[in-house]
């Protein structure tokens, strides 16, 4: 930081003194932001609301309450809501326990290879959940799942015996938890890292053992992080589309997201019904995010705040190795086993042929690479991810800068606006965008632009938080000194802030780029013939149960993601994914 400061005078030498009286840029900034917000959030939500009160027909219909009556009256549509709530609570709780315990182990104990665990969890975070779910069919299918066959072989049990059945609600909860516990882990780890070990040491000195200290001292101190983590995981479980589409539908169960999509792709025009059905999801999600904000916003914990003093690891003693093994289980389940299952299946000629030499083939790879839809989808996916990452990063960086540096009147609302979409589930947003931009005069449907809007809206909050965190660490004094020396705001931004701000910007770019590669819940409603992306092609193939080609495509998607992570590591250093929390 000091080194940079010394270079400053040279860097702005080209700057000229600013004009005496200048146009107030505040107005322009507000107008641009407002237009953006209207396009991205307000209009889609308004159209969603409007459609829910109209008769949807292929020819225009009139005002009605019937959509709400249909959506909430019959058991068939009511049941998915119940299932979704049940999923949110179970997945939230399981993720909370697993994520929090692992965060404590990594942060506070002398566990071997803590970095391996931490990076492994971050890696499971970038694995597409729907891909994991498909892989788990190969692993935990009732009859032919590897794990069931292995157990049968081990104990000499009959073909009828099975321990796991992935096509059940338990299977859905399991698969979801695998990909949501990292959320809790990240949040709680951040919380734990902010607490000094002094308080824990005090407890130890007073005679409390490792676990007693954890429960009576550490746990209460990270309570807000725990709550936030639970909300995040529960929310994710509520709005996930891929896993229930893969595992719950075959079991004859809809969740709200899969039911919503079923409405949207029904032969009958059910846009109104879908819109009405989306309302409770929207309200619940916004409510959950709001509650989280309130709890996290409360800063009544004096010990938390700023990096605390030293942290000394608690001794696990004889439990060291068993706990390490336990911690590896979720990682093996989330990454290692699914990757293995996809890889082997992708090389199998006949699905019923088993894993023998004569049954190996490259046919699945040949199939996907000669398939027009796949080739186009690879291009579209990468294109969209670049567009979304660039768009979200630019908007986020500028808004964060304006908000942090208090450059315009009303700057305190900018943060709210940039993070407002955080409560809107991707699939609900997609229904809104669909309602808003499939009609004249703004027909964006059928182009990559409508998907770009969806991605931008969905990931803007993430980019904003990353930029904001990055900016907080840059002292305004640096900028102010340049202003004193005569540089105008733009020059300061270009020559001082941007160079210092670069790491956060790159991190935010990659943090948007990676989930964009596998975005499903919005894409699945917005794609058209010419705008397929890899994730929807996989779901498309799954509807034909093309398990071999799916596996090959999954391997391909994982490879692309790995390359993205590797590039990220090179550019920003290995810690860049931590800011995701």
């Amino acid at each position: 930081m000091t080194q940079d400061a010394q270079q400053l005078p040279g860097m702005i030498s080209g700057g000229e003194p600013s004009a005496t009286k200048k146009f107030d840029y505040t107005v322009i900034v507000w107008v641009v932001l407002l237009i953006l917000l209207i396009i991205l959030v307000a209009n889609p939500i308004f159209q969603l609301f409007k459609e829910s009160f109209f008769v949807s027909e292929d020819e225009a219909g009139g005002f009605t309450f019937q959509n709400y009556i249909d959506a909430f009256e019959t058991d068939e549509y009511y049941k998915p809501m119940y299932i979704t709530m049940m999923l949110a609570i179970s997945v939230g709780s399981i993720s909370l326990v697993v994520g929090a315990v692992m965060a404590w182990v990594v942060s506070r104990t002398d566990i071997p290879f803590p970095n391996l665990i931490r990076n492994g969890i971050l890696a499971s975070f970038v694995t597409p959940p729907f891909l994991g779910a498909i892989a788990w069919i190969f692993l935990a299918g009732q009859n032919e799942g590897w794990l069931n066959k292995w157990i049968r072989g081990l104990f000499g049990l009959s073909d009828e015996f099975y321990l796991f059945d992935i096509f059940t609600m338990k299977g859905v909860i399991f698969a979801m938890s695998l990909y949501t516990f990292p959320l809790v882990f990240i949040v709680v780890l951040a919380g734990l890292n902010n607490i000094s070990s002094d308080v824990e040491d005090a407890a130890n000195v007073a005679g409390g053992g490792t676990f007693h200290t954890m429960f009576s001292i550490t746990l209460p101190l990270v309570a807000p992080s725990l709550f936030a983590g639970f909300i995040l995981a529960a929310l994710e479980a509520m709005i996930l589309f891929g896993i229930p589409a893969v595992l719950a539908i075959p079991a004859g169960q809809h969740t709200m997201t899969t039911q919503l999509r079923a409405f949207m792709v029904s032969e009958d025009d059910l846009l109104g019904l879908a819109s009405a059905y989306a309302m409770p999801m929207l309200i619940l999600a916004v409510g959950m995010v709001w509650t989280r904000g309130i709890v996290l916003g409360r800063r009544g914990y004096a010990t938390v705040g700023g990096k605390g003093g030293q942290r000394r690891p608690q001794k696990l003693g004889v439990w060291r190795i068993p706990i390490f093994v336990l911690c590896m289980i979720p990682l093996v389940c989330a990454i290692v086993l699914p990757a293995m299952a996809l890889l082997t299946t992708s090389f199998m000629k006949n699905l019923g042929g088993g894993l023998v030499w004569s049954n190996l083939t490259l046919w699945n790879y040949h199939f996907i690479l000669t398939n027009d839809a796949v080739r186009e989808s690879i291009y579209n996916t990468i294109m969209l991810a670049i567009m979304a990452a660039t768009g979200a990063t630019i908007v986020a960086a500028i808004s964060a800068f304006i908000a942090q540096r208090k450059l315009i009147r009303g700057h305190e609302y900018i943060g709210f606006m940039a993070t407002a979409p955080i409560g809107i589930p991707g699939i609900v947003l997609a229904v809104g965008l669909f309602a808003a931009y499939t009609k004249q005069p703004f027909v964006l449907y059928g182009t990559l632009w409508i998907m770009f809007l969806a991605y931008l809206t969905k990931y803007l909050p993430l980019a904003y938080q990353t930029s904001n965190a990055g900016l907080t660490s840059i002292h305004p004094e640096l900028e102010e000194s340049c202003r004193i020396m005569g540089a105008n705001r733009l020059q300061v931004f270009k020559d001082v802030t941007v160079p210092l701000f670069k790491t956060a910007v790159i991190a935010s770019w990659i943090l948007v780029f990676m989930p964009s590669l596998r975005e499903l819940s919005a894409s699945v409603l917005l794609w058209t013939t010419n705008t397929k992306v890899i994730s929807v092609v996989i779901v498309d193939f799954y509807e034909e149960t093309l398990l071999g080609p799916i596996s090959a495509l999954g391997v391909l998607l994982l490879l692309i993601t790995l390359v993205a992570i590797a590039v990220g590591f090179r550019l920003v250093g290995r810690d860049f994914m931590r800011s995701a929390g």
Binding site: G141, E144, I249, Q253, E267, T438, T529, E543, G548
Partner: protein, 337 residues
């Protein structure tokens, strides 16, 4: 707009032209359009195969394939039409009922593909709004590694034996026109009680009619309630441990029409492509894929039973149109999704 009118006029003029050779003008116009978008519900590997073959001809027209289930294709087209977006040129699904609706609203336009004069009369229509591209039957099947031939179900009712509970896979009528068609036939024969009992068997629900095959091939499920005969027989040829079941009550015949959209953005390419679909080359390709076609000159694989040797159940387009929605609704009610 003007382009559209000219193209339309051109199309009308050319409609009266009898054979491929006379279509030089269409061909030239098609080249200018450069591509044709085909909304098709035939399984992906076949649809892609046809498109790839067409593209290999280097006629200056690129085939763009959009493969999806019959129901979803129908919704997508109507949705796009509502927004004034016209992407698709040619449409092919397994739901004749949809084609009746499309015809009534003049969304599809008459076109007689070249070379169909000698076709089996059941595959062509008088008004030429559509021509049947392929036919198949909805076939129950089982995994030969999991079930011995003597234990396998022989009739539809055998599927209701409690010993198969949780071991059956069933496809979804909202997705697959093939399945909607088959279900209506089976309900006609056995009533809805059959499906009420089937729901109690807790089958796994997949989407596409062909979607059950991989699950049964893997042995994850043991029995399929009904799949497209062509996908099944092709995979048996490939060596998957599967076997069809031919119940004495008969198999549901599903004929899948192909038509041209009135507002096709590439009307000439649409006609060139449609001619290609019904050309001897594609007809033989479909036959090799175990499908029945209208052209009497194709050679069928030995393993494919002749249509006349199968006890067939069949319904007309009007019945399909009428019972389509109630069937989907009832399925949702019984099976939950």
């Amino acid at each position: 707009m003007l382009k559209g009118i000219i193209a339309g006029l051109l199309a009308v003029v050319l409609l009266s032209a009898p054979a491929f050779a006379a279509d030089d003008a269409t061909m030239r116009a098609a080249k200018k359009e450069g591509k044709v978008t085909w909304y098709s519900s035939i399984t992906l590997n076949i649809a892609q195969h046809i498109c790839n073959n067409f593209n290999k001809k280097k006629m200056g027209v690129q085939c763009v394939l959009h493969r999806d289930g019959s129901g979803k294709l129908y919704r997508r087209y109507l949705q796009e039409r509502k927004g004034g977006i016209y992407v698709a040129d040619v449409v092919h699904t397994s739901n004749l009922g949809h084609f009746l609706n499309l015809k009534a609203k003049k969304i599809i336009t008459p076109y007689k593909p070249a070379g169909t004069d000698n076709f089996n009369e059941k595959f062509v229509t008088k008004d030429n709004y559509w021509t049947i591209l392929r036919a198949g039957v909805l076939m129950p099947f089982y995994n030969t590694k999991k079930i011995k031939a003597e234990d396998a179900p022989k009739t539809y009712k055998d599927f209701l034996d409690p010993k198969w509970k949780g071991k059956i896979v069933h496809s979804h009528p909202s997705y697959s026109g093939f399945v909607t068609n088959g279900m209506i036939n089976i309900v006609n024969k056995f009533g809805w009680d059959y499906y009420k009992a089937m729901a109690k068997q807790k089958p796994k629900i997949v989407q596409s009619a062909a979607g059950g095959i991989p699950l049964v091939a893997r042995g994850e499920s043991w029995l399929g309630a009904g799949t497209t005969s062509y996908s099944l027989l092709k995979l048996i040829e490939k060596g998957e441990p599967l076997k069809p079941i031919v119940p004495p009550a008969g198999l549901a015949l599903v004929t899948s029409p192909n038509g041209v959209f009135t507002k096709a953005p590439n009307p000439n390419a649409a006609r060139v492509f449609t001619d290609y679909l019904f050309s001897m080359e594609t007809m033989q390709l479909l036959a090799d894929y175990f499908l029945y076609v209208g052209n009497p000159d194709v050679k069928y694989p030995k393993a494919l039973p002749a249509l006349k040797d199968i006890n067939l159940m069949a319904i007309g387009g009007a019945e399909l149109k009428k019972k389509n929605k109630p069937t989907r609704k009832m399925f949702k009610k019984l099976f939950g999704v």
